[in-house]
Subunit: 458 residues, 2 copies
């Protein structure tokens, strides 16, 4: 049996406490899975009094980062403090001290991935981060290892459990956004300041990490186009439902693989594109986070509450789906410990060396604005209830060669001259041309408020 | 860069052809993911004339197993001929010759896993088999690596695409079993002799493989209790639907972890059991393949057509789901090539050594008959339309302390004395006690045909 692998935990909140519990309670299990003992050597926190009642032996606990990092019996430093300042220093110091790093910090990776990974390569150590995206869902291993034969051509992910919880409550229980948010906060699914969750920022960070693995692109989170659910009108959830669709906040990556089209002609049977497309057909990827209309029967439409799920399209395998709890003590700790076991077994080091993530090795993908993606669109207008409006709107769409799939306009019940909703669903169109049409539509005198629009999942 | 990894393909049908295509067409991709070139060196088939029009260079093709296996430029032998006779010899010869093995052969693993893995350990080579269960769904890596921090406490899998295609057609289009089977055969989802698919044998083979990884048990497929869909009556699909349930053929493993109960008290929120249960609470596992009633909103109930999906419950992570195409050229070849890349990177060798699969290392799980599992049950009787029948049946259930959740008996439309269906859904009961009650019910004079029953997913 190999030598004991020593672990230092930096940060011991919800997730860190879970990791400590597993390391302390399941020593036999971890040793048998790793082929060697794994021992918790150090736990570093800001305030040691908070761990007074924990099962962690007192002598392991301190407030001293450097002592933990430089402890010669520590081989792996687990960074769970979050943020991008102290956390970055901890990771760089640990690598410089010759320690492997496990982190759940998506913001740090999205922000400083290149710097951290170069430091790791220089130190000949590895950085593991399964817990950084989608908690208990093993999407990092899926993209990096299980699907390694494929070029990923599309990713659609429900990566923010808070937003999905709120959308589920709005759709299934008819709540307004504000009421659903309040319930999410009460149940601990949303923080007091939910901004980063509901405006799409958190999902954009996670998408940036996935895009690095799948496409080799270093997308800065602020460069990823995003729209959250914080401005979503319950009316659009109702109209979507009437049309047979569910609205989900998706983090998406679309490539030129299928002409940038959301679905290949003919729907689902689009596997074997690896055997059809020349490799050179894949040269750009568009990334965005936005509410998207999914058919009620779509796999991702079924994902309810705080769950996360990621649909990955590979050019050889076709569509695969990964689903599970997106956050929380158990799920996130499970992924952190899986990384520790991978280091203990020696897999992680091999993967790290082979994958060359956040390196200068250009994998040939350019990041394109989402304008290039071909999609169907849901367009909801508030229009004056008088003749000619529909004719004007549809003429503008026709001028951009956008044809219409369906129209919903309900009989105005005593509108008394106030604007009425008009919903139009289009056939496939290039996002750029659709937006051109949108500008002209918003300029119509009969259109009372800026048009609301979403992509459709098919 | 490391030396070229040489591959011999033994068998070149649908899947083998897909593997050859990937190795030949995507050399750059595979080299960049592996950190070394991967080269197809040999293709062995029974009849070389069948590959006359393929893109495989003529000089690689032969009918000579031994020459391929002993070729010093070959490092990995990919066994894709199926069956358990020649295939077994090929695998053992390859290991003896110092070659790593990749196989998609679930029957061979379930049948001779111990012998093959001991031979591999002796030869210090590895056997990889991601493609053996659920085609393109990376369930082997999920169980063995991603969830390594967990003790798996339950598995529920849709592992046979043929059965799921037929069930979907019966449920959604009201087809009889015979008509749905004929359509599956026409579309290539079912073979001319569909027995192994529809009677649960294929799913039992796959479950045996998963149970080895998750519980360390060497279940012989013929020891796994199984019931297929071949005897399913469309009437039960309709009754299930009326009650809010979908019938799916599931391969299931239940442990003593939650008292053998299908769902923990209170439904879904059963994570963190790792922090509650003593490790010793897990000591038995029950395996079976059977049609199960799942709520329409359950994740597995949504899996349609020929797709496969596996729900894994881990004591730390909670529930995670893996879904994708269960068979076919692209998906299966994708998993085979992922294994080849894992060997090229050096991960597979580490995993193989650490996992000690099919070894004598006892992991502490005994296989129990499914009688120990606690479940709710759907019970459908054909009974005489006269007074006292319901009283007799419910009295028998009460005597076994089985309480009733709901009853459906429709008004008999001119039954003219012929038996009418009576459907009873029970609360949780131990399978053994339920079966005791069943015997007594079948003995009632008013019960016209042997009772039909299924477990409920919750």
């Amino acid at each position: 049996m190999l030598d004991t692998l020593g672990i230092a935990l930096i940060g011991c909140g919800t997730v860190g406490g879970g990791v400590a519990d597993i390391l302390l309670r399941h020593k036999d299990r971890l040793a048998s899975r790793s082929g060697r003992p794994i021992a918790l050597r150090r736990v570093v926190v800001r305030d040691t009094s908070k761990l007074r009642d924990s099962a962690i032996p007192k002598e392991l606990i301190s407030t001293d980062h450097a002592a933990a990092i430089h402890d010669p019996t520590v081989h792996v430093v687990v960074e769970l403090i979050g943020g991008t300042t102290t956390a970055k220093k901890v990771v760089l110091d640990a690598l410089a001290a010759g320690k492997h790093v496990v982190t759940a910090n998506k913001a740090l990776l999205a922000d400083a991935g290149h710097e951290l990974f170069e430091a790791a390569r220089k130190a000949e150590r590895c950085v593991c981060f399964e817990a950084a995206v989608a908690g208990g869902v093993p999407i990092i291993r899926a993209l990096g290892e299980s699907l390694a034969a494929n070029q990923v051509t599309a990713i659609q992910g429900i990566l923010n459990g808070t937003s999905n919880f709120i959308l589920t409550a709005m759709a299934e229980r008819g709540m307004s956004y504000a009421v659903a948010l309040a319930e999410a906060q009460k149940l601990g699914y949303a923080e007091a300041d939910p901004t980063l969750d509901v405006d799409g920022s958190d999902a954009a960070h996670k998408l940036a990490v996935l895009a690095q693995i799948a496409f080799g692109v270093a997308a800065r989170p602020h460069e990823i186009q995003r729209q959250g659910i914080d401005t979503l009108d319950a009316m659009d959830i109702r109209f979507a439902d009437e049309l047979g669709y569910t609205i989900k906040l998706l983090a998406e990556a679309w490539t030129s693989g299928e002409g940038g089209r959301r679905k290949a002609e003919g729907g689902k049977d689009e596997t074997d594109s690896a055997f059809r497309l020349p490799p050179s057909a894949l040269n750009w990827v568009a990334l965005h986070v936005a509410p998207v209309l999914l058919r009620h029967t779509d796999l991702l439409a079924q994902v309810r509450g705080a769950y996360n799920a990621i649909l990955v399209h590979g050019d050889i395998v076709g569509e695969t789906l990964y689903q599970g709890p997106g956050a929380g003590r158990g799920p996130t700790a499970s992924s952190v410990v899986a990384d520790i076991i991978d280091i203990a077994v020696g897999r992680a080091q091999r993967t790290f060396a082979a994958a060359q993530l956040w390196s200068t090795a250009n994998k040939g993908f350019a990041i394109e604005p989402a304008e290039r993606v071909r999609s169907r669109f849901y367009l909801r207008l508030l229009v004056a209830d008088k003749p000619g409006v529909l004719a004007d709107v549809t003429r503008i769409l026709a001028d951009e060669e956008i044809s219409i799939s369906s129209v919903v306009q309900h009989e105005a019940a005593e509108s008394g001259g106030s604007p009425v909703p008009l919903v139009i669903v289009t056939h496939y169109a290039e996002t750029g041309r659709f937006k051109t049409a949108l500008k002209k539509i918003n300029a119509l005198a009969t259109v009372a408020a800026p048009a609301v629009f979403f992509s459709m999942g098919d």
